[in-house]
């Protein structure tokens, strides 16, 4: 929370129009928006917490749980969609037993859906902690996830 305070210091005379930049700064520093930090921003901007949570959940960019040790970003852009990214996502969710946007209970995995990773030539593509894995098949995906589990 000290980190949240130091961010808020930079926005000391801010009004409600600075809400999104503040949330972005907190997420950047903390990796996600914690319950406490949202409540604190509410006090700081004199806005109801329900409103801040409403704004934050409106945008895909905000997360409400810490990301896992392995953060899986799956591309659901047009090229990947044509190449079957939907079934890749379904398999991912089934294998990790979490929904997109969530983090597994053991904190090992998290899933984030992105609109386009910008690597359409590799479709369907995912990235795990920033490392790209293209031309994905179901078998390849399961091997990748098992490797992550081994290296935990």
């Amino acid at each position: 929370m000290a980190m949240v305070e130091s961010i808020l210091k930079k926005y000391h005379s801010s009004k409600r129009d600075q809400l999104i930049p503040i949330l972005q700064a907190i997420q950047e520093a903390q990796g996600f928006l914690s319950r406490e930090s949202i409540i604190r921003v509410g006090e700081f901007l004199n806005l109801p917490v329900s409103k801040i949570y409403g704004v934050a959940t409106f945008y895909n960019q905000f997360r409400f749980k810490a990301i896992g040790k392995y953060h899986v970003m799956i591309c659901r852009g047009t090229a990947c969609h044509v190449k079957g990214s939907k079934s890749i996502l379904e398999l991912l969710e089934e294998n990790l037993q979490i929904k997109a946007g969530d983090t597994s209970r053991d904190g090992l995995f998290s899933i984030e859906v992105v609109a386009c990773i910008g690597a359409c030539g590799l479709a369907p593509v995912i990235s795990i902690n920033g490392e790209f894995h293209g031309h994905l098949t179901k078998e390849k995906l399961i091997t990748l996830l098992d490797e992550c589990r081994k290296n935990k």
């Binding site: 319950r35 109801p48 801040i52 409403g54």
Partner: protein
């Protein structure tokens, strides 16, 4: 700016005020277009799109609720294109709405179902898709079923703009969107003050009161229980509407007859304990005046307001009157005095209270409102639930001959009756405070300055040589304005009356749904006028003249603020940490 501008609606020319929305303009002309999201005096959102109209020269259909009129505008309100659009919107809303209308709380008065019927939607054109949202039954007052929500946002606006609580807002986006408290948690841990104004504006069954009818039915058929019923001052001027009678009709006698008929053993009137509250609260005010207590003193009969102070202004908790509300006082007195006197074990008494209010359900469950482990009140029913209870037993209110409530606590002064409307507690209190301070009755019993539906009313009165500054507010948004004036030392009040709902209990969250009709405001006015008429005609118009109150003090309580009074009739409050 010109004072009027010309527009054409459905081929006819009209002069309208500039700056109004199309919807306001056409409503004045007597033209009605449907809407599910519009709320008079609150910000328009254009969420439901049902009010769309066609304007010459504008490509798309335009939501009339959020589009201002302009000179020379040519409008068609019921063109074939608008009619098809409206019907399609209703069909699409139905496609993401559960099909359990037969079992829905709002089956008789759902606005969505009413529109579907008016537009002749008789077949399902789109498959129904469930969102998989969970019900929230965590609150003691209000149930939330997001599956039935059509995202009109009325509850969000009422909670924010009228009550300044903002317990609810939109969460997520697109087909995942729902209306929920912060972090999608239960209403019970949110800043919700249980007032039920959201329930009053909800067009469907997404927000409803928590029903406690089952407990009452069980108690009525339990021979071991001594059932006592009490009804709030406002009920007699609102219950009639649930039986198709005119708003503002006083059915106090029929009500007593009805409750006796369905098996309640004893019938008391909360207006009695409103008188008792005045004696205690008035004495507390005088005690503070003479001994330098906290000012301003706030009334404490409205449980939504009390929770509001505990959440948003905890530094002013000591300013709230320590008096329990009339509901709780009558419960405590019935169980710990009347029952013992009449040979009934207080544990066998089952006290049902009929309230215009959903927050009263919360109040009855506050641990502070138990005496020696016994709850003052066992179950609270709203006016709406009460109508259901009577219909369940086949009672038609209009067919009954009036009877009277039981003595001694069926006895009330019309000052107690005034508690039902904003300003009423103040008016009743001042009548008695004047007497208690000066030994003389106030010259004009009718205190016009605190009457009427204005959100904030202030006045300065002279009692003896003391100038008393008073303020009366209804709707917590108005209460917040008063609180901020006090906090920033802009105003100096001695006595402040707050009722959570706009207009007071006559417009409480448990009252008959009339948001479906355009006569809601008129109904509230009629209810208020009925109270003033009752007071005008009353033979006993001051709480301190209520013989039952006098007898109770003589026989049991001894005097206001006595030890017994403190044990049974007073309470305390505590700061609440909620997500706000």
């Amino acid at each position: 700016m010109p004072t009027t501008i010309k527009i054409s609606v459905n081929g006819k020319e009209y002069n309208v005020r500039p700056g109004v929305t199309i919807l306001e303009a056409i409503r004045d002309m007597g033209i009605s277009v449907p809407t599910l999201c519009h709320l008079k005096n609150l910000s328009p959102t254009g969420a439901c799109r049902l009010c769309v109209v066609e304007i010459d020269g504008v490509a798309g259909l335009v939501p009339s609720c959020s589009y201002p009129v302009s000179e020379g505008m040519v409008i068609k309100t019921h063109s074939p294109r608008t009619m098809v659009a409206r019907k399609t919107i209703v069909e699409l809303l139905l496609a993401s709405h559960p099909n359990d209308c037969l079992y829905c709380e709002r089956s008789r008065n759902c606005e969505l179902s009413k529109l579907a019927s008016e537009f002749g939607v008789t077949a399902q054109h789109f498959p129904v898709v469930s969102h998989g949202h969970h019900k929230d039954i965590s609150s003691p007052s209000i149930n939330r079923d997001p599956e039935k929500c059509i995202l009109c946002g009325k509850c969000v606006r009422v909670c924010e703009e009228v009550q300044s609580v903002s317990a609810l807002d939109f969460v997520s986006r697109g087909h995942k969107a729902q209306v929920a408290p912060a972090f999608n948690e239960g209403l019970n841990v949110s800043s919700c003050i249980n007032c039920g104004q959201c329930v009053m504006v909800c067009p469907t069954g997404a927000l409803t009161e928590k029903s406690n009818l089952k407990e009452v039915l069980a108690a009525l058929s339990d021979k071991k229980k001594h059932t006592i019923i009490q009804y709030a001052p406002s009920i007699s001027v609102t219950l009639a509407e649930e039986f198709g009678l005119k708003a503002g009709q006083d059915v106090v006698g029929k009500m007593a007859a009805a409750f006796r008929k369905i098996g309640f053993k004893t019938i008391f009137d909360t207006s009695f304990s409103a008188d008792l509250t005045i004696m205690e609260e008035g004495s507390e005010f005088i005690h503070r005046l003479q001994n330098g207590g906290n000012f301003p003193m706030f009334t404490s009969c409205s449980p939504g307001w009390v929770k509001f102070v505990e959440e948003f202004y905890p530094e002013y908790i000591d300013h709230l009157s320590t008096c329990k509300s009339p509901q709780q006082m009558l419960g405590a007195i019935s169980k710990h005095y009347w029952a013992k006197k009449n040979g009934v074990d207080p544990k066998d008494v089952f006290m049902v209270s009929i309230m215009p209010c959903t927050a009263k359900k919360f109040e009855a469950k506050r641990p502070e409102n138990f005496v020696d482990g016994i709850p003052d009140i066992d179950v609270v029913l709203t006016t709406r639930e009460t109508a259901k209870l009577l219909k369940f037993y086949g009672v038609d209110l209009s067919q009954l001959d009036p009877e009277t409530a039981d003595l001694p606590f069926g006895n009330y002064s019309t000052a107690g009756k005034l508690f039902a409307a904003t300003g009423g507690v103040m008016e009743a209190a001042l009548r008695s405070v004047h007497f208690l301070l000066t030994g003389k009755e106030i010259e004009d019993l009718k205190l016009q300055t605190v009457r009427g539906l204005d959100g904030i009313k202030t006045a300065t009165l002279k009692i003896n040589d003391i100038e008393v500054n008073i303020a009366v507010a209804s709707g917590l948004g108005n209460a917040r304005k008063i609180m901020d004036d006090i906090k920033h030392k802009r105003k100096n009040y001695h006595f402040v009356e707050i009722m959570s709902c706009p207009g007071g209990c006559i417009n409480g969250g448990g009252q008959p749904y009339s948001s479906l009709t355009s006569t809601h405001e008129k109904n509230v006015r009629a209810r208020m006028q009925a109270l003033y008429n009752i007071d005008q005609m009353g033979s006993v118009r001051q709480s301190h003249k209520n013989q039952a109150v006098i007898d109770l003090y003589d026989d049991f309580l001894k005097r206001p603020l006595s030890d017994v009074s403190h044990h049974l009739l007073h309470t305390h409050y505590h700061a609440r940490k909620v997500v706000k």
